[in-house]
């Protein structure tokens, strides 16, 4: 079928940022994740945990807490501000200062009327949530030490606050403290160390559960202010607590990387006397767990090791499926690498800078499986630092390698690259059209003559590029529907078509020549994770988060026959069970029937001329085919050709010289750059 020369790249030093806070919205089934670099991501829990939205962070942000109020998302951080996010356009809506010093925690009541924040100065501040803003209401009684954690009673009348060495219960009406409960310090040498109550949970029956730096999970009674029971969970800190919706299960994340589950069960079978009993321990993290959430069927945890772990609770799952498997999300579901296909350049997007590399060159030919001699090593051409505090949202390099563009939340910058012999220089294009103030997604047309920028309200701006500079050409808007931000753009090879996919699953197709909306692809229930327009047939090939695939003929405005066949016959079980989304769709100009896809663990070439596999055929058949003689291969092969030689793939791109660029980021390398975890005594060490 074919040989490929593969540039195997491992010098993209991408380090995912640690997870600081989680907030789960039960109504929309969205999980919001705040990272240490200040970025906020929204995952769709019932759509295979696809990362729908990314709001980039900024320097010195220090997000400490996240809270949903209805469908609005708020965060607060050590910079003392409360931020509301514009989830439609994926940016910060506004930030107001709480005037209480660094904020350690933020939580909204169940009624959706108020937000409470815990401040460094010892105050709990209540904010009223208005139609379009939040309004400071009042302070509760000021305490002597900082407020580390907060939890509303479900009725909204009381608040429990975790502090240093104690827990306070406040009456929200009066603002006065009802009870003060002292958390014991550890014994022995840790006696002198203060006990930090990292997490509190206020249950509707009046039980308050706290997790503290001594390693205890304690249960308190809010009527009497007394300790009911305490569980020693770890020798280190209990950093995060979360209770299930019906308050029968509690999870605690520790700094050892374990999640400990407690369940509210009757100790004697058939009796009603229920007790909180420690039941399970999960260990999926290597570092501190900073946030944990129990969602309907799983425990989601995140921490310093930057991975989001979805651990299914098998007792709550009725049908075991790919959707209910253990899932670890290491990398963003967006492309951080863009390649200049025609000039062999790669642009790496880091939060605060961009790197431009030129691929190396090889000499001679090699047998399959061998490494070629590298005649010229890859070369770093450019290191472009971002101006300002905002982190990069998106970036792109033009196919010819002449243009580089990136956008932050506040600005968009376009550069022209001059490359004569070994002298590299760039010039910033000034006087950009006003519409290009910021972008959610950027791409160039295949002949590098136009820059396409996805902007607010699902609109797409078209800018023509020339030696002289750039000129605004026009704005494309969808005819109807919602106006969620666009996260994917694809142009056709002939420069006629543009496809845009937004986070509410809309895919619009525009005719770039007429600058009109052409059509809309029927909406599918799952999000589009990657798409591409076929260079010869002009069919739009789309990959969805649930691993389905569709091919839509733009000219005929309907699904192609092949796509219908795929839908009718269904995809192979092993294909559907993969747990990372496909992140790129490429086409091989030399062989029009080939579609190249990749996810984190594999590269797949779909040969549309070959029969589709059914569940009885061997899916991973490359080794079998390799062992067969040439003439028998045909009869054994099917449409899906998977290459599993690579892992931890961030990006795959097919260059115009038919070689593949595979950017890997081995997890071991990431782990090596993380801070050392808490030292734990292992057996025989």
């Amino acid at each position: 079928m074919g040989e490929f020369k593969v540039h195997r790249v491992r010098f993209f030093d991408y380090i995912p940022s640690g997870i600081r806070a989680l907030a789960f919205n039960r109504d929309t089934e969205r999980m919001a994740v705040a990272r240490i670099d200040g970025s906020v991501e929204v995952f769709h829990c019932s759509d295979r945990f696809f990362q729908e939205k990314i709001i980039p962070g900024r320097e010195q942000c220090g997000t400490e807490g996240l809270s949903w109020v209805g469908e609005r998302l708020f965060s607060a951080g050590l910079n003392g501000g409360i931020t509301e996010y514009d989830l439609t356009n994926q940016k910060v809506k506004y930030t107001i200062d709480a005037y209480g010093g660094p904020i350690w925690t933020i939580t909204g009541n169940q009624q959706g009327t108020h937000l409470a924040v815990g401040c460094e100065d010892g105050t709990v501040k209540l904010f009223e949530v208005n139609e379009d803003k939040i309004q400071f209401e009042r302070n509760l009684d000021r305490q002597k030490s900082r407020i580390i954690s907060l939890s509303w009673h479900p009725s909204g009348s009381k608040i429990a606050a975790g502090m240093i060495d104690m827990i306070q219960i406040f009456n929200v009406e009066t603002g006065h403290s009802i009870h003060r409960m002292l958390a014991d310090r550890g014994v022995g040498t840790s006696q002198s160390k203060e006990c930090v109550v990292w997490g509190v949970v206020y249950l509707s029956d009046g039980t308050i559960i706290s997790g503290d730096s001594v390693g205890m999970v304690k249960l308190w009674d809010d009527q009497t202010g007394t300790l009911i029971k305490s569980h020693n969970v770890t020798k280190c800190d209990v950093l995060a607590l979360s209770v299930s919706q019906n308050e029968d299960s509690l999870v605690a994340g520790t700094s050892e990387g374990t999640v400990v589950q407690f369940q509210f069960v009757s100790v004697v079978l058939g009796k009603d006397d229920k007790e909180w009993v420690r039941t399970r321990t999960f260990k999926n993290h290597t570092h501190d767990i900073r946030a944990v959430e129990e969602i309907t069927t799983a425990v989601v945890s995140g921490g310093m090791d930057a991975q989001l772990v979805v651990r299914p609770l098998l007792d709550k799952i009725e049908v075991r499926s790919a959707a209910s498997a253990l899932r670890k999300i290491h990398f963003p579901h967006r492309r951080l690498v863009s390649c200049a296909r025609k000039s062999g350049l790669m642009l790496f997007q880091y939060p605060g800078h961009l790197e431009l590399w030129r691929l190396g060159e090889s000499e001679g030919k090699g047998l399959p499986g061998s490494s070629l001699f590298v005649k010229r090593n890859p070369e770093k051409l450019l290191h472009l630092k971002v101006k300002g505090e905002d982190h990069i949202h998106c970036s792109a390099v033009s196919p010819c390698g002449e243009w580089i563009v990136y956008s932050t939340a506040s600005s968009l910058r376009l550069y022209r690259l001059h490359c004569d012999n070994n002298n590299i220089s760039i010039t910033k294009i000034s006087k950009l059209p006003k519409v290009l103030s910021s972008a959610n997604q950027l791409c160039f047309s295949s002949d590098s003559s136009h820059l396409i920028s996805a902007s607010t309200q699902s609109s797409v701006h078209l800018v023509s590029l020339s030696q002289a500079g750039c000129k605004f050409v026009g704005t494309l808007k969808p005819k109807s529907g919602s106006h969620q931000a666009i996260h994917l753009l694809a142009t056709s090879e002939d420069g006629k078509w543009l496809a845009s996919a937004s986070s509410d699953h809309d895919v619009h197709i525009y005719n770039l020549q007429t600058r009109k909306a052409h059509c809309t692809v029927p909406v599918y229930s799952s999000a589009v994770t990657a798409m591409g327009i076929h260079p010869t047939t002009n069919c739009l090939f789309m990959m969805y988060a649930d691993q389905q695939m569709c091919e839509y003929s733009i000219e005929q405005k309907q699904y192609t026959d092949w796509s219908r066949t795929v839908q009718r016959k269904g995809l192979h079980r092993l294909w559907l069970e993969r747990d990372t989304p496909c992140l790129n769709v490429m086409f091989n100009p030399q062989n029009p029937s080939h579609v190249i896809l990749h996810d984190t663990y594999m590269i797949c070439i779909i040969d549309q001329s070959l029969p589709l596999p059914d569940d009885k055929t061997q899916f991973y058949n490359q080794l079998t085919l390799k062992s067969l003689p040439e003439e028998q291969r045909k009869s054994h092969s099917h449409a899906f050709k998977l290459c599993k030689n690579f892992k931890d793939i961030l990006c795959v791109e097919l260059m115009s010289d038919q070689s593949l660029v595979v950017v890997e980021r081995p997890l071991e390398d990431v782990a090596a750059q993380l801070p050392a975890p808490i030292k734990q005594k292992k057996f025989a060490t």
Binding site: M1, F4, V6, S362, S370, S371, L372, V374, N645
Partner: protein, 716 residues
């Protein structure tokens, strides 16, 4: 595996006339495990420190008084208790000199025995079956004692068992030929009566032994017909005795072989859960003499150890803390023993063997039980039925054959047995071969001219024989100096005791090489020896052609001996085989025999110094040879492995360490061995260092290409 060690005499026993076993009334545990209390039937009670074999105290009663039960030691009050003249209980302390001055109390009924268990109050058992705690009895000695047993019911045997703070008294009675067992439990006091199952041919149990394991009492009892039965009684019982007489369920756990002589008495004592010691029964292969102390494994019904006792045995046997106390002749002997945890392998011959010889052993007697597959069975039954119809008359039955063996000439026997082996179905053969072999051996032992070597070889080749089936075969072969038979037997048997292995080793080493060369041996083993010695002469010739490598450690250490031969290849072994080919072949067989080192060591000490040195020289030769010619594989079915050789060197050095340290002729040998071992240790230490790096190289090789590579992949 169990073993009886060399015993020693504790004291003399004044035999009393017209009595079968009343030399010693009893041996009881003293104040610690090293002290025993011996009550003899005259008038004397003596305390012995067992490890010193000396008496530490002795008391006797006045003339005219009779000690009526064995004295016991009350561990709670540190006092001794004895009953004289059936009714007088005497209690005294260690430092009381005169028994007459000690405390005594007369009770109202005849006392049968005082029973004492560690850390509990002694219990007084009256002849009428009643029991009292000693302290309660002495508080009011004249208290009335009830009659538990019928008028003519006599207690034959009694014991006390203590476990989990529960005391249980067991005693068996006889009443008009009917035998019963009573179980007296305390707290609450219950007495349960059991009836022994009786069969017409069985009389009464002649010896009992009770132990407590888990929450059950295991009672073993021996009948005169050699059957040892076991009954299990619960330690705590819910029955109150009101149910009347219960039948005692039992299971046969051992069937001892009987000699021709009619037995009158015998004794059994439980050693652990798998082993019992028996006296008064004949050794299965030692003929009529019954003065043997044997340890049997009840799990596998195998004889584990035996010892011939000089003089008459009184059918008395006690066991305290790893030592058996047995009166015989005019003395009381102490025989230490050891029972190891038994497994089938240990019970039948340990099979420590590894390496290539395992497969050749797999078809030995033991595994043949399981190796008989379904097809085998059908085949044999087919053959059987065919034979039954065709030549029923031609094949002699085993009994006929055995009768024939007793009288016929060697040639006839050979023909008969050959025919028998050919014609008998496999399953039957398995059972018959042992009997035939036993009969042949016993004829050979009595008739000096009768020694059918070919028949024995035929029997061995069936592979249904093993050492346990016919233990005398090997010793007979050794007596007859039939080394070929011995060699085949060593190849086939997997259960040869260490003592026999050593005896065989001794025989080989004491036979001269010239005598040995005439013996016809298994060709494969001789071929191996030829190869081994030829390899040496060849490497002498080709010495110069090997590459220049030379082990530096070896060179520096042996340079003084090699300096005059520096032109030669340093690797070439400057050594000739210290024994002849045939002797080497036989020694190889010994090296490959399975053994356990602890039982082997004492027997190994029997070798004389020259024998040890020759053997060690041969082992050194083999060891050097193996190390030098490691690259050469000599094709042979059975070769000793290098670990076997090293194990034997270690054993030999352990067994004769002091002798070898002082013997001048051994000095050179030992220092050579030492140098070589040291160089080997150095070599392996160095190899160990590079192992880690090699491992890392091996694991990393595939994946590590650094930050960038251009590779070619192919998809099909």
């Amino acid at each position: 595996m169990a073993a009886l060690y060399e015993g020693y005499t504790l004291c003399g026993v004044g035999a009393v006339q017209n009595s079968s076993n009343i030399g010693i009334l009893g041996v009881e545990q003293g104040r610690d495990i090293d002290h025993v209390l011996v009550t003899d039937s005259s008038r004397c009670i003596t305390i012995y420190k067992v490890s010193d074999q000396r008496a530490t105290g002795s008391w006797s009663v006045k003339q005219g008084q009779i000690i009526s039960c064995p004295a016991v030691f009350n561990t709670q009050s540190q006092e001794y208790v004895v009953v004289t003249d059936d009714k007088v209980v005497r209690v005294w302390k260690e430092d009381d000199v005169n028994l007459e001055k000690a405390f005594k109390a007369t009770v109202s009924a005849d006392v049968l025995r005082v029973l004492s268990a560690t850390d509990s109050e002694p219990v007084v058992l009256f002849c009428c079956g009643a029991v009292r705690f000693l302290d309660l009895l002495l508080a009011s000695p004249q208290q009335p004692i009830e009659h538990v047993l019928a008028e003519d019911e006599i207690i034959r045997w009694s014991t006390i068992v203590k476990a989990e703070h529960q005391l249980v008294i067991l005693f068996s009675t006889e009443q008009r030929g009917e035998h019963c067992l009573y179980v007296q439990r305390f707290n609450p006091n219950t007495l349960v009566k059991h009836r022994f199952e009786t069969e017409p041919c069985l009389s009464a149990p002649i010896s009992f032994s009770a132990t407590c394991r888990g929450s059950n009492i295991h009672l073993l009892y021996l009948y005169l017909n050699g059957s040892v039965y076991e009954s299990v009684l619960p330690l705590r019982s819910s029955s109150t005795g009101a149910e009347g007489v219960l039948a005692l369920s039992r299971s046969l756990c051992l069937s001892l072989p009987l000699g021709e002589e009619k037995l009158m008495s015998g004794a059994v004592v439980v050693l652990d859960e798998a082993h019992v010691a028996v006296v008064g029964f004949p050794h299965p292969s030692a003929g009529a003499c019954k003065d043997y102390l044997c340890i049997w494994n009840t799990h596998f019904q195998t004889l584990q150890a035996c010892k011939e006792m000089a003089g008459r045995i009184y059918s008395q046997l006690w066991c305290y803390s790893g030592k058996l106390y047995i009166p015989h002749g005019k003395m009381l002997s102490v025989i230490p023993f050891e029972c190891q945890k038994s497994s089938l392998a240990a019970a039948l011959g340990k099979l420590k063997q590894t390496s290539q010889s395992a497969e050749s052993k797999s078809c030995s007697f033991v595994s043949s039980w399981t190796a008989q597959t379904y097809s085998d069975v059908t085949q044999t039954t087919e053959i059987k039925s065919r034979m039954a119809t065709r030549n029923n008359s031609n094949v002699k039955s085993v009994d006929q054959l055995i009768e024939h063996i007793k009288t016929s000439a060697v040639e006839d026997v050979q023909a008969e047995v050959g025919e028998f082996i050919r014609r008998t179905p496999q399953a039957d053969l398995q059972l018959a071969v042992g009997r035939v072999a036993l009969e042949l051996v016993s004829r050979s032992q009595t008739d000096a001219n009768f020694y059918p070597q070919c028949v024995f070889l035929q029997l061995l080749e069936t592979r249904y024989l093993c050492y346990s089936v016919c233990p005398e075969l090997l010793s007979l072969a050794m007596v007859k100096k039939d080394l070929h038979l011995c060699q085949i037997a060593f190849q086939i048997f997997s259960d040869i005791p260490e003592a026999v292995t050593c005896a065989y080793l001794k025989t080989i080493l004491s036979t001269s090489d010239s005598e040995m060369e005439t013996v016809n041996l298994d060709t494969d083993s001789v071929m191996f020896m030829k190869e081994l010695t030829r390899a040496q002469s060849r490497s002498d010739e080709e010495g110069g052609q090997l590459n220049g490598f030379c082990s530096p450690a070896l060179e520096s250490d042996v340079s003084d001996t090699l300096s005059n031969k520096l032109q030669r290849d340093p690797l070439a072994l400057d050594m000739s085989c210290p024994v002849g080919l045939h002797k080497g072949a036989l020694l190889n067989e010994v090296l490959q025999t399975a053994y356990s080192d602890r039982p082997l060591l004492p027997h190994l000490k029997d070798l004389t110094v020259p024998q040890v040195i020759v053997f060690l020289q041969y082992l050194r030769f083999l060891y050097f040879k193996y190390c030098h010619d490691a690259h050469k594989q000599i094709r042979a079915l059975r070769t000793p492995s290098i670990s076997q050789i090293i194990d034997w060197v270690c054993l030999l050095l352990d067994a004769h360490f002091t002798v070898l340290a002082v013997a001048p002729e051994a000095k050179r040998l030992i220092s050579d061995l030492h140098k070589f071992v040291r160089s080997q240790v150095k070599l392996y230490a160095e190899l160990g260092k590079i192992e880690g790096s090699l491992q890392v190289l091996n694991s990393k090789r595939s994946e590590d290409f650094g930050m960038y590579a251009i590779q070619v992949i192919e998809l099909f």
